[in-house]
Symmetry: C2
Subunit: 242 residues, 2 copies
DNA sequence: TGACATTTAAAAGTCTGACATTTAGAATCT
DNA sequence: AGATTCTAAATGTCAGACTTTTAAATGTCA
């Protein structure tokens, strides 16, 4: 682990990069303890606060975790699926909210990816996944449900569908696509009629999954995508006119 | 922006979270300047180094950028697709390398997602995307190409395929799935025969894309997935036996 | 001997205050 | 008016001290 004393980049950035590289290259392995802050500041010939800023950068990315007390220190963190999932959702959400991505673009990406999960989910889903999907469909039919709660239930339904593929990598990748849409979906007001159409499609998808028919599930998702885009365009058109 | 003085969590973590929440909620908008470090330390009643650690955490996630000098400070950063893309690749790569994800699982996820792009790419790809695919296929046929270079070219081919869908959200989502596989692919040694089979499939896929036949492209990807998994299992079997 | 309480030291977390460096903008000069 | 210099504000860095947490070593007693 070395830094370039001639570089114009901030020291804390350089140090963070050096440690990150060491982790990625395998020089530092999971759960290995990094030198203490005092040792690091000595090694890199910088002050302790500078080292700390570098460590905080890494901690923010879940690359390391710190522990206080004797035999404490900074440890290389095993990036868990949960952590990666959370990061993925945050990044995707911010990306969509900050870049004027059109609803259609986001929607298209989401459903394209989700359709890819359908055949796997139809083949492998557990009874639990199916039960979750049914339960969410039931919830979506309850009167008095707010639009936000309806959207949240929609996300839960789709998560169950994706998780049904029993591929953690796929679930992780889809997390962003599905959840980042929620703020966009929350801008839509769903009439009772809209909800009926959507839950009808959900039922059709769940039935297909239950029957092990991935093609039918994908077709249902296709229709759901059309429906969602139509709904959104109506809402945005009405809003633009006002 | 408030912090809970009774919380046991580290102050810098709390402050980072408070600012992050303000950004996500829209209280702070893109390119808005945060208060100076001195003002923040005054506001939160903590010292400047503590505030700085919080800011470094946010900078590590590309949520803010800092500028030195007069009228400098920390600004809410517009998360660009490039930044998000880079984060996505790093996270995915670490996730796979640290969690003993089987080759099959990663491979399945990657090709399932990629097949989802095929119809869109067949419909929308520009001449440029197609040219890139052809160029990479040509490179893959060159003798004397190292295995690592072959894998890199493979990634470039698939990126062109994905980008052909002309949906930046999709490209971003796929970035992790495709690039994170590279270290795993690099563990495979490709015989001349293997390469011929792969480039043959690549050609078939490119032809289908050129013809606008998304179904055929997806089928080609399906076969490529099978081929890749077979190759990998052979390599791992041979390695286990030794 | 073994279980429990106490001490101790190491390490992260935090604070204070200072100085260095960068940079935009104001002031000045030609 | 335009170029140059000055200035002040802000981040970047440093040094050293103190606080809090935590595990391990030590000591004590049944």
């Amino acid at each position: 682990m070395k830094i370039d004393p001639n570089s114009s980049a901030d020291l804390s950035v350089q140090i963070a990069q050096a440690i990150k590289d060491a982790i990625i290259s395998g020089e530092l392995i999971v759960d290995e303890r990094l030198p203490s802050e005092a040792e690091l500041s000595d090694h890199f010939q910088v002050s302790r606060p500078t080292v700390r800023e570098a460590l905080k950068r890494l901690a923010a990315q879940s690359l390391i975790r710190t522990q206080r007390g004797a035999s404490g220190g900074a440890f290389v963190n095993r990036l868990s699926f949960e952590d990666a999932y959370a990061q993925q959702v945050t990044t995707s959400t911010l990306l969509l909210s900050m870049n004027e991505v059109s609803f259609d673009t986001a929607c298209e990406a989401r459903y394209a990816l989700e359709r890819a999960c359908a055949p796997l989910s139809a083949e492998r889903r557990s009874a639990d996944h199916l039960a979750t999907m049914r339960a969410e469909i039931f919830r979506q039919g309850q009167p008095g449900l707010t639009d936000v709660a309806f959207c949240a239930s929609d996300v839960a339904f789709h998560r169950a569908l994706v998780d049904g593929a029993r591929n953690p990598v796929l679930s992780y990748q889809l997390a962003g696509a599905v959840e980042a849409m929620q703020p966009l979906m929350n801008m839509i007001t769903f009439t009772a009629r809209d909800r009926a159409v959507i839950t009808g499609l959900h039922t059709r998808i769940a039935d297909a999954i239950e029957a092990g028919d991935g093609g039918a599930a994908a077709a249902g998702l296709q229709d759901l995508e059309c429906e969602t885009r139509k709904l959104a365009s109506d809402v945005f058109a009405a809003r633009a006119q006002r």
